[in-house]
Structure formats: C-alpha cells, structure tokens
Amino acid sequence: MTARIGVVTFPGSLDDRDTQRAIRVAGAEPVALWHKDKSLKQVDAVVLCGGFSYGDYLRAGAIARFSPVMDTVIEQAKAGLPVLGICNGFQILTEAHLLPGGMLGNDHLHFICRDQKLRVENADTAWTTDYTAGQEIHIPLKNMDGRYVADRYTLDELEAEGRVAFRYLDFNPNGSLNDIAGITNEAGNVVGLMPHPEHAVESLIGTGRTDGLPFFTSILKKLVNA
C-alpha cells in the first residue's frame, strides 16, 4: 500500500502540481484538495504548497488561513496529522498559529530566487527522517516574504527544543533571525520551511539536484510503516 498525501490548492497557489509530481516521484499518491472544501478526503498527510495565495495581499498567507479547508487542517494538525508547509504554506502555518513567529518581507526588499544551501538541524520530524542531522543540502529558494521573525523568548524556546529544523548556510537570503529556514512544532508533525523541496526531486530540472526528495520519502516511510 502507499500513502495518500493531500495538496491544497488555494486561489493563487502555484506549486500545487509540482508538489503532486514530487509526491508521485517519491512513490506516494497525491490527492488534490480544494480550499473551499472542509474535507481532507481522508488523506494521511497534507502539504500546503508554495505560491501567492490570494495574491499574498494583506500579508503572505493571511487570507488563506481563513479558508474552510484550513479549519480542518488546523484541527487535525493539532491531533497529529502530518502537515508540511512550503514557502507560502509555511507562511499560512504561522498565520494559523500552528507554528510560532511570523514571516516578513526579505530584508533586501527584493524577491529572491537561488539555489540555497541549508543544514538539516532536526532529522526526527515526520518530514525529515530520511536526512541525517547536520546534513548539508541545496534546495531552491524563491520568495518575497521569507524573513522569519519571533520574539526572543520564542526563539530561545525553538533553539532549546531543537525545533529549528533547517538553517541557511553561507548566506542568509532574507534576514531571517538565527538564519532560520524552517521550523517544526513540538510534536514534529507540522513542519514549515521557505525553500522548495518539491523543486529538487529530478536531476534534469531546475538546479539538477535531488536534495528535496527525502521530504517525501520520509513521510511515505512513516505512513507506510505506521
């Protein structure tokens, strides 16, 4: 059997089909979810993909957070459903308070698209077990609002609990505090990050690296072995 992984399409989602492809490449079954439906079609995990939901008007992710589908995602994530937020998905997760802190415009005020070096800091989350802690990987990054901020207390807590899942290496592309590229919730089922693992699953495409594939194989193994 394989796992069914839902990918939510909001108006303005851009990487929904890419994410579905990445799930397929990893050997799982992608399931399209629609923002107006409360139902998650009984999927085993959910990915909130990249894009500009609602144009990212107001704040990135702020309007999407109030869609019907998010009511269910929030409820089930709290009950342990694995949820991965990539870029806009990460922004939605912070707006929904499933992850602490907030996302602001890049400190250099420009959109930035680059092949970004990261360190995997936490290889125990639902989405990172196929990495090893400390592993250095390259994943494409592309965003306007990638600056992770949180108050001192929250930052200290994240660091102390090992909940910084990914950190930027060599170059901080957006002014994120503590070079944070991605974080996890306490339970490790909800993970958000700015870089785009779904764009790094095929050797011919994009930067030609496949460093993003373990996200999808990690969750697949977890779900199949569960």
């Binding site: 609602y54 144009g55 008007y57 107001l58 309007i63 109030f66 869609s67």
Partner: protein, 90 residues
C-alpha cells in the same frame, strides 16, 4: 522631535487589488457592513527640530517626488498631534 505622518493611497479611480482582497475576505470572517476597503501606505517620519511651515513644505515635496508616484497615488502630510493620538482607540 516631532512625528510627521505621510499617508499614501492609490487614487480613487485606480484599481486597489489589495484593498479588494481584504474586502472580499470580510464576509468569510463574519464581518458585514463594510462597503469598501482601500489599502495604502503610512510613513512615520521623525523630524529633528521644529515642524514649521518650511519643514512641512519640504516634507510635502518629499512625498510628492519620492514617497508617492502621483501618476497613480494621492498623499496627505500631517503632524501627528496630541489630539489625533488621543482619538485613536488602542
């Protein structure tokens, strides 16, 4: 030191996609009775020295030539006074 506020809004005839997106989201959040939303920018300038006519005129120039593009935006300049602050509902 005084604070001068420059508000920059899109001209009324110009499409404001951001304001529209906010407005369209309101019913979903259970808000009724707001017939229009416009979103603009607010600049808070901390001015050294007295904010006299001359200073305001200079800030007006700044707003016109730099903070706003008057092809598509209108702006207002005002000194943030005690009264205005008092009126704010925090």
């Amino acid at each position: 030191m005084a604070r001068v506020v420059v508000d920059v809004m899109l001209k009324p005839e110009i499409l404001d996609p951001q304001g529209q997106a906010v407005q369209r989201a309101l019913p979903r959040l259970g808000f009724e009775g707001i017939s229009d939303v416009r979103q603009g920018k607010r600049f808070e300038l901390e001015v050294d020295g007295p904010v006299d006519e001359a200073a305001l005129a200079r800030i007006h120039d700044l707003a016109e030539s730099f903070l706003a593009n008057t092809v598509i935006e209108d702006f207002t300049v005002r000194v943030e006074s005690e009264e205005a602050v008092a009126e704010a509902v925090k």
